[in-house]
């Protein structure tokens, strides 16, 4: 079953074409990679899918529902979770509070219930903390529960951000360079972890990643983007062998740089 479908997304910044007729489709339970050189429009596509940018034309569907005009928070409530290239965690919150803050999708107690501490509020809070326990155990962050972001290393923060967006329990998870800035050993552990997340939580994953070995090993299918256009789509091996994909990298980076990848 198709979970995410975009049709003909188009967006320009001034005269620059950022997205040009981007149509992609992701099935439920897939792990799909998005590759392309810098400035190809990868993050722009994520921003359009998550609603931070408005496309000039085109259509976005999530789980069969048209969300083209939905606001970012409405998409989150519909089950869309995302991380950012530059980590956006709530600085004055502890790890636990960051994870609790991401659970709006599942909680419903009212302002009055909270102020009077009615049973509905209590049920919500207990449930929210159970979910935090489960996610912290899955990502193995239990020992950082009461730390604040400023006290943690950048690599750990990547995992905290992942944990936060997982406690939203998204149906579709958009990961923008989850391995950037983390140590090699942690990056190697990320692949199996992403698969485990998919298997255990059943969420579909769409990721941008510059670490090619990681991207190619974890993805079951890959889209390649250049100048805002989808230039190739298919199994990782096929796409990396595609002439246009190779030349898109060669056009902008040195040959040995690509060879090294």
């Amino acid at each position: 079953m198709t979970l995410l479908r975009t049709e003909g997304l188009k967006l320009r910044f001034g005269g620059v074409v950022a997205l040009d007729d981007v149509s992609i489709s992701i099935d439920e339970g897939e792990i799909v990679g998005l590759l392309g050189p810098n400035g190809a429009g990868k993050t722009t596509l994520f921003n359009v899918i998550s609603g931070l940018l408005k496309p000039e034309s085109g259509r976005i569907e999530l789980g069969g529902r048209n969300i083209t005009r939905a606001l970012p928070y409405e998409r989150a409530l519909a089950g869309l979770g995302r991380t950012f290239q530059h980590i956006k965690l709530f600085g004055s919150h502890t790890v636990e509070e960051n994870l609790l803050a991401a659970q709006h999708r599942h909680l419903s107690s009212s302002t009055l219930a909270a102020m009077l501490r009615l049973p509905s509020w209590r049920r919500d809070e207990v449930e929210a903390r159970r979910r935090v326990d489960a996610v912290l155990e899955l990502i193995n962050l239990e020992r950082y529960r009461h730390h604040r972001p400023a006290e943690l290393s950048y690599g750990t923060l990547r995992f905290v951000e992942l944990a936060a967006v997982l406690s939203l329990q998204p149906r579709l998870l958009l990961l923008d360079e989850p391995a950037s800035g983390i140590a090699q050993r942690e990056a190697e552990a990320l692949g199996p972890l992403l698969r485990e997340i998919r298997d255990v939580l059943g969420c579909t994953i769409f990721l941008i990643e510059h670490d090619m070995p990681l991207l190619l090993s974890v993805s079951e299918r890959v889209y390649a983007l250049d100048f805002g256009q989808v230039i190739a789509e298919g199994e990782p091996d096929e796409v990396t062998a595609d002439d246009r994909v190779l030349s898109s990298y060669l056009g902008r980076t040195r040959r040995d740089d690509v060879a090294a990848r």
């Binding site: 970012p72 409530l77 956006k88 004055s92 009212s110 102020m115 209590r122 159970r130 489960a134």
Partner: protein
């Protein structure tokens, strides 16, 4: 599908001690001692006489109004410059409802809170789209507009003479004396602190703090930013209005002047300052800030020069807190308490010396001013 998720990977069985907020921490020696000390300080004014009780009531009332700033500024990160507009609404609704119509005070408080909702919705719907100083200037503009309309209407404010507000009598219990009224305000402010603490530890409260930290990240986590700001503004307005009802009963004779020119009349600014110094991200902050400042102001009430000196020092302290100590005094106390718990002897003595030194300086200034 989401229900299935938990089924696939069942959460750990509930721990015997789930960290549920609102549950009292297990009582040990230190907490019992602290509770007894605070309790004694709280009922202290009752033994010190009517004037001390009046000051205590003033602190409690200011803390109620300050809680409104905690919700909208401390939690949600929006600076409202119109808290005293809501206070004024409460004051004059109290004057009409309690004195003219003979309503019980709690009924008047509910009416005032209800009346604040249309006002805060009107202001909120216009200004929640604005951020930072645009929001602040918008609220300042509305405060001025209310000063030129609502608070200039003689039938509402009683003109130059002002209006009378009676203190309540609850059946056989007479709350008109300063001591009894102090107890009433103390109970009220404690109840409101408890409520605001509950709010903080809830879906809504976490939405508020996320909006304060980063609106975009909050939105991608499913927070409706506009609605959250609006809820914060409405809740804050209701609290400030209830504070106004008590302010009216505290003063008993009320005039419109403080509410007509909101910015120039530095009341609103003073309130923001004491909340920030006390700790605007903690529900106890306004209480601590109000106590710190009003005790000083009342002790030195005859020495006007000292009063303004205190005001200048407080403003400087306010800037310092904003730059270096975002948690305010409440945060400092929390931090020091943790230190004392970690090393009772060493840090306990240090903290005791600091407190004693402060008291000594305070006493010295008092002696000199007499």
């Amino acid at each position: 599908m989401n229900t299935k998720v938990m089924a696939v990977k069942p959460a750990k069985p509930a721990k015997p001690e789930l960290p549920i907020p609102g549950r009292l921490p297990p009582a040990n020696g230190t907490t019992i001692l602290a509770a007894i000390t605070l309790g004694l300080i709280a009922i202290g004014p009752l033994f010190l006489g009517d004037f001390a009780s009046f000051v205590g009531a003033r602190i409690a009332v200011t803390a109620i109004v300050g809680l409104s700033i905690v919700v909208v500024t401390g939690y949600t990160g929006q600076l409202s410059l119109m808290p005293y507009t809501f206070v004024g609404l409460g004051v004059f609704v109290a004057a009409h409802a309690i004195t003219s119509w003979d309503w019980p005070f709690w009924f008047a408080a509910m009416l005032a809170a209800a009346l604040s909702v249309p006002l805060s919705l009107l202001v909120g719907l216009v200004s929640v789209r604005l951020r930072g100083f645009y929001f602040a200037i918008a609220t300042l503009t509305f405060a001025s507009a209310m000063g030129a309309t609502l608070f200039s209407w003689d039938f509402f404010t009683g003109g130059q003479k002002g209006l009378q507000v009676d203190r309540p009598v609850l059946g056989p219990i007479d709350l008109t004396s300063d001591r009894a009224f102090y107890l009433l305000t103390l109970v009220t402010v404690l109840a409101l602190v408890w409520m605001v603490m509950g709010l903080r530890e809830s879906r809504i409260g976490r939405a508020m703090t996320s909006v304060r930290e980063n609106e975009i990240a909050a939105a991608t986590m499913g927070v409706n930013v506009m609605k959250t700001k609006l809820v914060a503004f409405v809740v804050s307005g209701m609290i400030a209005t209830v504070g106004g009802v008590f302010q009216g009963m505290l003063l008993q004779q009320v005039t419109r002047t403080p509410y007509q020119t909101p910015f120039v009349e530095t009341l609103g600014v003073t309130l923001v300052i004491l909340v920030v110094v006390g700790g605007m991200r903690s529900a106890w902050g306004p209480f601590i800030g109000a106590a710190l400042i009003y005790v000083q102001l009342e002790v030195f009430r005859t020495a006007l020069f000292l009063q303004y000196f205190i005001a200048a020092i407080t403003a400087a302290a306010f800037i310092f807190v904003l730059l270096k100590l975002p948690g305010g005094v409440a945060g400092l106390i929390k931090h020091e308490a943790a230190q004392v718990r970690a090393a009772p002897l060493k840090n306990g003595i240090r903290v005791a010396i600091i407190i004693l030194a402060n008291v000594a300086v305070f006493y010295l200034i008092w002696e000199l001013s007499q």
